[in-house]
Amino acid sequence: MIEARGLVQTFHTGQGKNKKEVHAVKGVDLDVAEGEVVGFLGPNGAGKTTTLRMLVTLLKPTAGTARVAGYDVATQPVQVRRSIGYCSQVGSTFSGAYARDEVVDHGMLYGMSRKDAVAKGQELFEKFQLDGLWKRMNKNMSGGQKRRLDIVMGLIHSPSLVFLDEPTTGLDPQARANLWEHISGLRDNEGATVFLTTHYLDEADALADRIVIIDRGEIVASDTADNLKANVSGDLVSLELSSDEQVSIARDKLASISDDVHVDGRSVSGRVARAGKAVPGLLRDLDASGVGLEGIEVIRPTLDDVFLTLTGRSLRDADEADAPETDSPEGGAM
């Protein structure tokens, strides 16, 4: 559904002597198969939105090529637009308009008849638990309802591929959890391929079949969340020993399944790929060697650990250090 090769976006900021060239996206390669839900993860300013804007034809790539739903974004933008749905991070409806009018007009811009747009809109309102809000003005909706309305707008023409740009930003935990359920249902109920950008680790973890991590305009990893955690970071296995004499034996045993063993007093810890499979064998070895344990802890890594391993900095730190997502020439929009 998406095939991008060497996508580049360069723009200029400032005037005169202060003019600066900014490389927002530096040669991104991307493949998304039909039916996949892909999470595009990275801190603010990493190049997520800029990449997405090139894929949805809102921004012309400086270099590189991309085919979306089988069409070239540079030479067949209208066909691309006809095939995709898009929900931007700022929303898509006017606060002073009625929900039904926005949805129906949007459908008609896709060439739908008024009758079809009304029928499809009402069907989607029901699916997305917006019943009773058809005739409500958008400014009188909650944040969660507005985001669901944005998704309905993006689905009104039954696209085969849906782009969601930071869909849950600004929502409270309950509204986020509710929206996750609906996003999860997009593939199952609507048959759509989903490409969503996010800087929330838990969101990417919960929603995506595969996670693509972008940092400073470059893709640094692409795999399932489990594989990323297992292969890039690994589980943290921590052993608490009953006596100082057994520390060296335990360290050697753990070193047989981990390249990264640390000793701190009677604590021995190390990163282990897929600890669930490796730890039973380790326990048997330790027992056979007469090593007594006071405790054992296995900590599953988070995507933040993965990001830290890949980039040398925490995703949360990167978020705070970098500028807000104004990484596109148009400040993240239009």
């Binding site: 898009y86 409806t93 811009l109 400040g331």
Partner: protein, 254 residues
């Protein structure tokens, strides 16, 4: 073509629906020219005979100028509402549909022109009511010229809004552009009253010819060279602004 017109009409209907929710704005927009007509018009009565503009009726002289002013000022603020829509993501949502991007502009211009037509009709009706004289054909041509000017200013305003996306930038730019046009076009008083140097400067102001054309049309002198030149300028400015607006709307990263 049918698809294009359909897309324009979807955008137009959406815009007009929003306007109808706030009809007060149409009336607020016409307040300035109406106040000029009612409060400035009477001051011209003893003076208008000296203007040598083909009429001794103060309102026949003033209304065409006020129409052009209405076309310029009213339409030049169209971009402000576009920035509001852009900020809420509406423009971006429209731009990812397969609809022609110039249709997104033209549909909005239809709204601006309809609003201007309503305001112009009110102004002309009021003018007739307080003593203006003018043939139906001449007045219709004057209104048509007004619509061309208004369409041009609305297209330019929307293009400027898309380029700046900031009301704080738009407002001073609109002021800087509008003030010289207002002062050098002879909208309220004919430029022939001014010193020679002022007249020479105003010779370079296309809107002066447009105002003159509207005045000649109102006085029934439809075959005058002023009407031809003014109409030609109005068409040229309209075409130029439309080209600018459409090219800004078509830009991939606009």
């Amino acid at each position: 073509m049918t698809t294009y017109l359909r897309e324009c009409s979807v955008v137009f209907r959406r815009q007009i629906r929003m306007n109808l929710r706030n009809p007060a704005w149409v009336l607020i927009g016409i307040m300035q020219p109406v106040l000029y007509l009612l409060l400035f018009g009477p001051l011209l009565k003893p003076l208008v005979a000296q203007f040598d503009t083909g009429t001794t009726n103060a309102y026949t002289f003033l209304v065409p100028g006020l129409l052009v002013q209405l076309g310029m000022f009213g339409a030049f603020f169209a971009g402000f509402s576009l920035i509001g829509e852009w900020r809420e993501g509406v423009i971006e949502a429209e731009r990812v549909t397969p609809a022609s991007r110039s249709a997104l502009l033209v549909g909005r211009l239809w709204r601006d022109l309809l609003q201007l037509l309503v305001q112009a009709t009110i102004l002309v009706g009021l003018g007739y009511a307080i003593g203006m004289r003018g043939s139906v054909g001449g007045v219709a041509l004057g209104v048509l010229i007004t619509l061309l000017v208004g369409g041009a200013c609305a297209a330019a305003s929307n293009a400027l809004a898309m380029a700046t996306k900031d009301e704080n930038v738009m407002a001073p730019v609109v002021n800087v552009v509008m003030m010289p046009i207002l002062l050098l076009s002879g909208i309220l008083l004919p430029m022939t009253l001014g010193a020679a140097w002022l007249q020479h400067i105003s010779d370079f102001m296309p809107f002066r010819y447009i105002v003159d054309a509207a005045r000649d049309a109102f006085t029934g002198d439809l075959g005058s060279s002023d009407v031809a030149w003014g109409t030609a300028w109005a068409v040229a400015i309209f075409a130029l602004a439309m080209w600018w607006g459409a090219s800004v709307f078509r830009k991939e990263n606009a």
